[in-house]
Amino acid sequence: MSQIFHHSTNTFTRITLFGAVFILGFLGWVMFTLNGSDYVTRATQAREQPVPFSHAHHVGGLGVDCRYCHTTVETSGFANIPPTKTCMNCHSQIWNTSPTLEPVRASFRTNQSIPWTRVNDLPDFVYFNHSIHVNKGVGCEVCHGRVDKMPLMYQYNTLQMEWCLNCHRNPEKYVRPREFVTTMGYQPAGDQEEIGRKLVAEYKIQDARTLTSCSTCHR
């Protein structure tokens, strides 16, 4: 009787069987890496905006405080986009004929908001309150990155749950004194963990068990 399979089938089978473990493991690793990558999360990708507003120029160059425009970040659950009027405070006087700023002036004339593209957008099944984070000493740059170095705005972090929990599990690694919340390039005056632990106590930040309870964020 002739052989059904060539002799090489033995080697092929062995490689397939033992290799399967590694191939599956590798595929798992690829999936995991891809899932947290900028390609999927769209982090570090600058978004197209109707007006090419530069945080690098306004914050880094001119030193405008975050709260000059984003007025509600300390008091509201939602961090606001400034109204066109805020832009016109300055731009009615300077660069008031620049063609780049025409959409801003058009918005001011017609009373229609500028259709900004939202950059940091959490999923709708997450309850997120902006003010509590600012008031408990989470600096702007911790989540938003060095905004003073971004010519066009991009999302700095993954915004994945893993990233949220990093801080909710160990807030002392990230908190800073309230007066430095809007500081860009903040350096702790001493050991961060030590200062962090003090601030956690002082600001009455809840324990990790409460902070990581499902219903803290998924209400």
Binding site: N10, T13, N35, G36, Q160, L165
Partner: protein
């Protein structure tokens, strides 16, 4: 040299294989079912058609479930577990007989298992496949079922290991894996037989791949024996542990009627009880349709019926114990739960299950009934219905009337409950009859060891 092996004319145990078989005829008869080029018998065609039809119904039911959500089932507060979990427990339980036959009876050296272990193990696999459907579909978003496993993820969370539902995931997936391995390892020598016997090129290739180069050398057999014993050792605790963990789904909850310490043994006994009923319900028509009465003899049916009766009596004892516990606890909620079961909204279900699981098995004391295949077949169907009702009553009756009377409500099944349930029966029949057609339903080489020719005298030392 020693004498030629002495050939004994009579089988060692006449009852488990009919006289007159030889190594050749055993192989011929079992392999012919698979290798025949003729149209399969009407029994096969009919059963396969029914299975395939119901499988299509299942696909429809699942598609509608995906589109519309769990509301198409009768799930309404307070009974958020109903047919789905009932069916899950029922199917997992049925699987247990296959593992008991293949593993525990192997370790106990019960030779009669050799003729029924193959299809019983196949039954286990397919029953577990059907069972697995329900908890996954019941998730609501079944496409996220991989969240049940602890895997590295961007959410930085793991399943809650304090939940018995997670234990279930591990219990059932371990069970499915070990059962599959055990079944496949046991199939290998027979697959090689089919490979060598078939004349079809494609079949040769197909069985050739699956038999993994089995040549039947002494070394192969030595490895096979070790592997099969090891797997039997692995599978044996699973017979007890899987349904124990399933019962934890209920006992860990503080619902009156669920929160009981005797659920694990009670569930395991019930599982084997219903499993042997399914073995009988499959074996009796199969051996008639394929003329296998010489291999699956009346003795096999008798033994299976005895196991069914023994476990049925344990189940009956558990019902008595359940009622006793309710009364003895002195707890009004426990008492009320038992009383509601017996006299409440589901009293007809309850008393039917008592008839099926407490009264019916006692008929099996009589040899006349155990030796009549037709009656045994009817009895096994009664048992299967009884065990389904048992799970239904435990789950739904307890949930419908729990501690908070203001939220009491009656569960009403919908046509989609029926469609999904009948659909998994279709899936089971579809897989099972494919198996009958494509793989040897009885273990050829193990049945050959039952023949008198297989008994050789030890070589005398010179």
């Amino acid at each position: 040299m020693a004498d030629e092996p002495q050939v004994i004319d009579q089988p060692a145990s006449k009852e488990i294989i009919a006289p007159g078989y030889t190594f050749g005829t055993v192989t011929d008869q079992i392999a012919a079912v698979v290798l025949t080029k003729k149209t399969p018998p009407l029994f096969w065609l009919g059963s396969f058609a029914v299975g395939f039809g119901l499988l299509l119904l299942f696909l429809l039911a699942v598609a509608i479930l995906m589109v519309k959500g769990l509301g198409i089932w009768g799930l309404r507060s307070p009974a958020m577990w109903a047919w789905d979990i009932t069916n899950f427990v029922w199917w997992v339980g049925i699987g247990h007989a296959g593992t008991l036959i293949s593993a525990i009876l192997l370790l106990l050296n019960q030779q009669w298992r050799n003729s029924i272990n193959r299809f019983a193990e196949a039954m286990t696999l397919f029953a577990v496949a059907c069972a697995g459907m329900f908890p996954v579909l019941h998730l609501g978003r079944p496409w996220l079922m991989y969240w049940l496993f602890p895997y590295p993820n961007t959410m930085a969370i793991e399943p809650n290991f304090r939940s018995p539902l997670v234990w279930d995931v591990f219990a059932v997936s371990t069970y499915a894996t070990v059962s599959l391995l055990f079944w496949y390892v046991g199939l290998m020598p027979d697959l090689a037989t089919l490979r060598d016997r078939t004349t079809d090129r494609f079949a040769k290739f197909f069985y050739g791949i699956l038999s993994m180069g089995w040549r039947g050398s002494a070394k192969h057999w030595a490895v096979y024996e070790t592997a099969s014993l090891l797997l039997a050792g692995l599978a044996t605790p699973l017979v007890l542990s899987v349904h124990t963990v399933v019962s934890f789904d209920f006992t860990i909850g503080i619902v009156p009627g669920w929160h009981s310490t005797f659920f694990p043994p009670y569930f395991v006994a019930g599982a084997i009880y219903s499993g042997f009923a399914m073995v009988l319900a499959l074996a009796i028509p199969l051996r008639s349709a394929y003329n296998l009465k010489g291999l699956i003899t009346d003795k096999h049916l008798d033994n299976a019926a005895k196991v069914m009766m023994a476990t049925g009596l344990i189940v009956g004892y558990s019902y008595i114990l359940e009622a006793f516990t309710g009364w003895y606890s002195g707890n009004v909620y426990e008492e009320a739960a038992i009383w509601n079961r017996m006299t409440g909204m589901y009293k007809y279900h309850y008393w039917t299950l008592v008839a099926c699981n407490v009264i019916a098995p006692n008929a099996l004391w009589f040899k006349k009934i155990r030796s009549s295949p037709v009656i045994l077949f009817i009895w096994s169907i009664i048992v299967l219905i009884g065990m389904w009702l048992e799970r239904f009553v435990i789950i739904v009756a307890s949930l419908s009337q729990d501690n908070l009377p203001s939220s009491w409500g009656r569960f009403e099944s919908t046509r989609w409950d029926w469609a999904t349930y009948l659909g998994t029966i279709g899936l089971f029949l579809f897989l099972f009859f494919l198996f009958i057609r494509l793989l040897p339903m009885i273990s050829i080489f193990e049945v050959r060891t039952l023949l008198p020719q297989a008994k050789v005298k030890e070589e005398q030392p010179r």
